[in-house]
Amino acid sequence: MFYLGCDVGSMTTKTVILGNKDVVAYDIAANNGNLTKVVETSVNKVVSKAGVSLADIDVKGGTGMGEQYIPFDHSKEGIIKCLAVAVYWIHPHTRTVVDIGGLSTSVISINGHGKVLEYRTSDKCASGSGFFLKLAAQALELKVEDLGNIIIPCGERAHMGTQCAVFGESEIVSHINDGEEPEKIAAGINYSLGSSVATMINRLGGIQDIVATGGVAKNKGVLRAIEEILGMEVITLSSIDEQLVGALGAALCAQQRMQQG
């Protein structure tokens, strides 16, 4: 039995196919141009990876802000629930989920049964999001992946005053002009993003057993910053790519719905 989950986010589309036990195939595609096409291609990729055909998969779930572009019948689920369900499925001890995505960040507290108790999503502004990292990396002429590996102790980091994607870029440039070393700037960027996420986590309160998901969770620099500020460990799910959690959740929710009939 196969279950398909598709999470159409702001910057990428994630698709997973879930077997009886675990993820058998997945794909992450950039949202360029026609989203319906992006989804189609991505889905075709995974089904062929899984060696099945879309027709054989009768349980399909969709989520994300672009969910409406999924071209085939599927059960729709809110992204918050998807994240909670998926993280709980993999790591039941989790009580707090932090999802740092392309345009927005969500902090979710869940109970011992994986039910969402309360959550906060970042406020409508591209600052403090993956997009900010993307532009920052560009300005530093680094790969986003490499940006995350730059971790240096506080005191040596460059200070970032703004996280406005546009002005942030110009602040980075002026750091460069002031002859600041790229590493220090990069570390400063990771830290400032991390601290704004930490603030969001504190805002929700009652935090324990934090799991980080979403593209930015791949950025170790950001995670270390969060840990440094919260004074507690932030883990990522080793068994699955951080970006796929939402899609997995969509698959799981669809599965639940089917079982409930």
Binding site: S10, N31, G33, N34, L35, T36, G66, Y69, L103, K124, C125, A126, F131, E141, C164, A165, V166, F167, S170, V173, I176, N177
Partner: protein
């Protein structure tokens, strides 16, 4: 005498060389990571084009976002004054300049000598700046300069609800996916741009003789809807490329300062390697 104006902005760098109160050449390049790089390259290009070398420069004034980082400039002046000066030189009837730069939109009032008497700039948000259009063009998959052409003949321009430059890009992405005609989107973008800038313009109060400068001035659609929103016709800058007006102004200030220093009987002016004053 050879005077050079060098304008290093957040998106592009320009250099203008003037001699005997006439433009010899100008150059425009995309910014390099460091402003001094940009300045050096664009000025070098201009000099080569004019078959000159750095030693021929009598006085150089830098302006724009990276102005204080330009080693070979004797002094720097803010782009606001420079745009005023340059535009008014290009067309003496100019009294108000709307300059739309990479991350700043400015409205500048000048007196009949081209000296700035008042100005406003966008403050906390990059909405309504070159960045905005650039991002939008990217999403639409067209070159910045083609945005105008694309929008022509739009039946019902869309309205953009977001102000944040970044979020608007995603709004447009979704419009595209909802199958909304690109012509209408492009028109909506240009319209939104015009409205944001006009808010600023209304703030200083527009005087007769309004000119529009900066790269965006080349987007005739924005210019057109801007003149609609403001209810006026822009005056022409003649031969002068609207994108080089800042550099041009800097060059004119270079001339003025050089001549002032003569009168003071100050340093002889082969000045590129002289240390820069604080203007």
């Amino acid at each position: 005498m050879i005077y050079v104006g060098c304008d290093v902005g957040s998106l592009s760098g320009e250099a203008v060389i003037i001699e005997d109160n006439a433009i010899v050449v100008h150059e425009i390049i995309r910014v390099r990571p460091r402003p001094e790089q940009t300045a050096l390259e664009v000025t070098q290009k201009a000099l080569t084009k004019a078959k000159m070398s750095f030693d021929d420069i009598d006085y150089c004034v830098s302006t724009g976002y990276g102005r204080e980082k330009i080693p070979f400039a004797q002094s720097s002046i803010s782009e606001i004054s420079c745009h005023g000066r340059g535009a008014q030189w290009a067309n003496p009837s100019v009294r108000t300049i709307i300059d739309i730069g990479g991350q700043d939109a400015k409205v500048i009032k000048v007196d009949k000598f081209g000296y700035m008497v008042d100005f406003v700039m966008n403050d906390k948000c990059a909405a309504g700046t070159g960045r905005f259009l650039e991002g939008m063009a990217k999403v639409l998959g067209v070159e910045l300069e083609d945005l105008a052409a694309l929008s022509s003949g739009a039946a019902s321009p869309v309205s953009l609800t977001k102000t944040c430059t970044v979020l608007s890009q995603f709004e447009v992405l979704y419009m595209l996916n909802d199958g909304i005609d690109r012509t209408n989107i492009a028109a909506g973008i240009n319209r939104a741009m015009a409205e944001r800038v006009s808010k600023l313009a209304k703030r200083v109060g527009i005087r007769e003789g309004v000119a529009i400068t900066g790269g965006v001035a080349k987007n005739f659609a924005v210019v057109k809807s801007l003149s609609e929103v403001l209810g006026l016709e822009f005056v022409s800058l003649g031969e002068v490329d609207p994108q080089i007006v800042g550099a041009l102004g800097a060059a004119l200030f270079a001339k003025e300062r050089a001549e002032r220093e003569y009168e003071k009987g100050g340093i002889e002016v082969k000045g590129v390697n002289k240390k820069r004053g604080n203007g």
